[in-house]
Assembly symmetry: C2
Homo-oligomer: 375 residues x 2
C-alpha cells in the first residue's frame, strides 16, 4: 500500500478525552452524579453551553459530496478524506474543533432541515464541496433558519484568499481597484463569490464569464445567482467569448478548467497583467506556458509553483475571528477584513512578483486576521 | 468556581489530528493533491470508507434532551455535558470515537429524517436521553431507514447491565429464570426494554408496574408500547398496586422513582429476595432502609453503595462487539451475549451478595463481551 493510503488508515482525526477517567472520583465529576450540576446550570443559562462544553469552539462541517476537489460528484462517502483534511487544518492552524458530517441526499430542503435540527451542536456551520447552484439555495435558506453563522468555504473561503493575493499583487503593479479591470472565468460557487467580494472591495469593472462566454444581459440561460451578480456588476452589454473578454484587461481570475487561458489571450491584456489561474490540479494556464514577453504576476492553486492561492491559508483564521468576536451574521466586510489581515502578513519590502501571499504554514496569518477584526 | 465546573470548561472532549501537518510534504498527502487518490478509491469502493476514514470506528450520539439523567426535559444544550461524558466513556473503555449531536426539535419525523440524512457519517447510531414514548417511535422508524445499527442506551444499555447483574445474583441465590418471578416497576424506556430482555432470556413470570400500579389487560390508559410488552409477558389479569405486585415474588427491578419500594413490601417477598433499586440519584429503597430481617441481595445505580448497576459497564463493550462483528441489525440475542459476557467476568468463587457485577473500571469487561460474541 502506498504511503498516502497508509496515512489514511482508520482516519486522520479522532475524538479524544481532555481528562483521564481512570478512577471513580474523576468519573463522578465528569459523569453522574457530578455532571448534573453543569446540566442544571446550562438549563438555566443556555448561553453557558459555549463555556462548559466543546460547542463554543466547534464547527460542524457538512457535505453532500457533489463537488469534491476538481473531481465533481463523488458522493458523500468519498468526500470524507477531504473533510477530515479540512478538519485537520482547522485544528492545526487555528485550534478549532471541526467535525465532518456527510449528507446522503442532495435534496435542498432535507439538507437544510437536517442541518437546522443539528445546529445547537455547533458554533458555526461550514458548508463544503456542495455543487452550485444547490449550495446557494442551501446557504440562503440556512442563514434564515439557524442562530449561528453559516460559511461556505468554496465560495467565500476562496474569495478571501483571491482578494488577499490581489491586494498584494496590486501593490507590486501599483494599481488601484477602482481603476483596474477584472475578468473572472467560472461562474460557480467560487466565481460568483469572488465577483461579489471584489465588487464590495472597490473593483467596479468586473466581467464574468462561464463556459458559454461572457455573461451579459441578452443571454437567456442564466440562473438567478448569475443574474444577481450581473445586476450587481452592471457589466451587462458586452457579448463574446473569453478571448474577447480579456482584451485590454488588467486582471484574470480563473476558477474554471485547465488550459482555458491561452498565451495569445494574455498578449492582448494590459501591461503587467495579473493572472490567477486557480483551476486545480490543472490551472487555466501553466506558468511554463506563459508568453515569453510576460512581465506580470501569476498565481495558481498548486503547491509546486510560487504564489499558491490556497483556502487553507484563510478559513481557519477567518472562522476563529468569527467565533472569537461572537459574530452571528457574516457580512462581506468580514471577508474583506480577513483578506486585508492575510495580505498584511507580508511587508511591502518582502513583496515580490513570486511572493504575493504568505505560505500556508506562516504562523503570523491567524494572528494577523484576528488583529484585523479588532480594527 | 468549583472543580466540577473547572473540569467542564470548554468541554471534556476534542477533535484531534492523528498526524502532524507541519510541513508541505505531509499536507500534500493528507490534503490536496494526495487525498484525491483516496477520494477516487472510496468513490469506486464505497465500503472502504470504513477503512480509510474515522467512520469505521465512530458512533453518532443523538439527543433531544427530553430525558436527561433523572432530571427530565432539560433541553438539548443542557444534555451536552452528559453526552460528552458518555463519549469519554466510549473512548476510555473501548477506544471508540463518539460524537455528540444535539437535536433542536422533539418532532419524531424531523429527528428521524435528520439522523437518516447524516447516517453515512457513522457506523452506529446511539440514541440517548430521549423520553418515552418518542424514543420508541424514533427507534422503530430509524431502524427501517438507515443501513447501520441503531442502539438506544436508555433502553437496552440499561437492560444489558440489569440482566448481567441478575445472572450473577441468581447464581448466588440458586435460582433459575424459568421458575423465578420478577416485578419491574417503571414502564418507560428502561422498564419496557428490561421486560423484553428478561423474557427473551427465559424469565416467564414478569409483572410490569407503572405509576398507576400493575399493568393489566383491563386498563384503558396504556400506550401501544406497554400493550406490546403486556401481550408478550402474558401477565394480563392481575390488577393492583405495587404492594400487591411484589407479594410472593423473587425479584424486584425498579427504574421508577426514589422511595417507591417500602420496607414492608420487601417483607412480603420470597426469602432471599433480589432488589435492584435503580432510580437515580434516589433509589426505590436505600440499602440503609432495608428491613432488619433482609437476607437477599440489593443493587442500586449509585457508586457509593456496592453492586452499582451502571450503563457505563455495558455500552462501550457492547457497541465495540457490534462494530467488530459488522452486525447490521441488533437483536435481543446480542444483548444477552453482552450480559453473559459481563456476568462471566466474575468467577463463581468471587461472587458475593455485595459483589455481583464488575466495577466500571474492570479491564476484563470489554474483552469478555467481545469473547462472548465469538461463541
Amino acid at each position: 500500500m502506498n504511503e498516502i493510503f497508509e496515512l489514511h488508515k482508520k482516519g486522520k482525526i479522532s475524538v479524544e478525552n481532555k481528562i483521564n477517567i481512570d478512577n471513580s472520583q474523576t468519573l463522578a465529576k465528569v459523569y453522574t452524579p457530578g455532571v448534573a450540576q453543569v446540566v442544571k446550570h446550562i438549563n438555566q443559562n443556555k448561553e453557558s453551553v459555549k463555556e462548559y462544553t466543546i460547542i463554543g469552539n466547534t464547527v460542524g462541517m457538512f457535505t453532500d459530496g457533489t463537488a469534491v476537489l476538481g473531481l465533481g460528484n463523488m458522493g458523500p462517502e468519498a468526500a470524507m478524506p477531504v473533510m477530515e483534511g479540512k478538519a485537520m487544518i482547522y485544528k492545526s492552524f487555528a485550534d478549532i474543533n471541526a467535525y465532518p458530517l456527510l449528507l446522503n441526499t442532495t435534496d435542498v430542503d432535507r439538507i437544510v432541515d437536517a442541518i437546522t435540527v443539528l445546529s445547537p451542536s455547533f458554533s458555526l456551520i461550514h458548508l463544503e464541496d456542495i455543487s452550485a447552484p444547490n449550495c446557494f439555495e442551501i446557504f440562503d435558506k440556512l442563514v434564515n433558519k439557524v442562530n449561528i453563522p453559516v460559511f461556505h468555504d468554496d465560495q467565500f473561503g476562496t474569495a478571501i484568499i483571491v482578494l488577499a493575493g490581489l491586494i498584494n499583487a496590486m501593490k507590486i503593479s501599483n494599481r488601484k481597484p477602482e481603476t483596474s479591470s477584472v475578468v473572472i472565468n467560472g461562474a460557480g460557487a467560487a466565481g460568483l463569490a469572488i465577483a461579489r467580494l471584489l465588487y464590495a472591495y472597490g473593483f467596479k469593472q468586473i466581467t464574468l464569464c462561464d463556459s458559454k462566454g461572457i455573461i451579459h444581459r441578452n443571454r437567456t440561460d442564466l440562473n438567478r445567482y448569475k443574474l444577481e451578480v450581473l445586476e450587481l456588476t452592471k457589466n451587462q452589454d458586452n457579448a463574446g467569448n473569453l478571448a474577447d473578454a480579456v482584451v485590454g484587461k488588467d486582471i484574470f481570475v480563473g476558477v474554471s478548467v485547465g488550459g482555458a487561458l491561452k498565451p495569445s489571450m494574455i498578449e492582448t491584456m494590459n501591461d503587467e497583467p495579473i493572472i490567477f489561474a486557480l483551476a486545480n490540479p490543472d490551472p487555466e494556464i501553466l506558468p511554463s506556458d506563459l508568453p515569453s514577453t510576460f512581465n506580470g504576476i501569476i498565481a495558481t492553486g498548486r503547491s509546486d509553483f510560487p504564489n499558491q492561492i490556497n483556502n487553507a491559508i484563510g478559513y481557519p483564521g477567518f472562522v476563529k475571528a468569527i467565533l472569537e468576536n461572537n459574530i452571528k451574521n457574516i457580512e462581506l466586510k468580514h471577508f474583506i477584513q480577513a483578506a486585508k489581515g492575510i495580505a498584511s502578513v507580508l511587508s511591502e519590502s518582502e513583496l515580490k512578483k513570486d511572493y504575493i501571499i504568505p505560505d500556508v504554514f506562516n504562523k503570523n496569518v491567524v494572528p494577523s486576521i484576528l488583529a484585523s477584526f479588532k480594527k
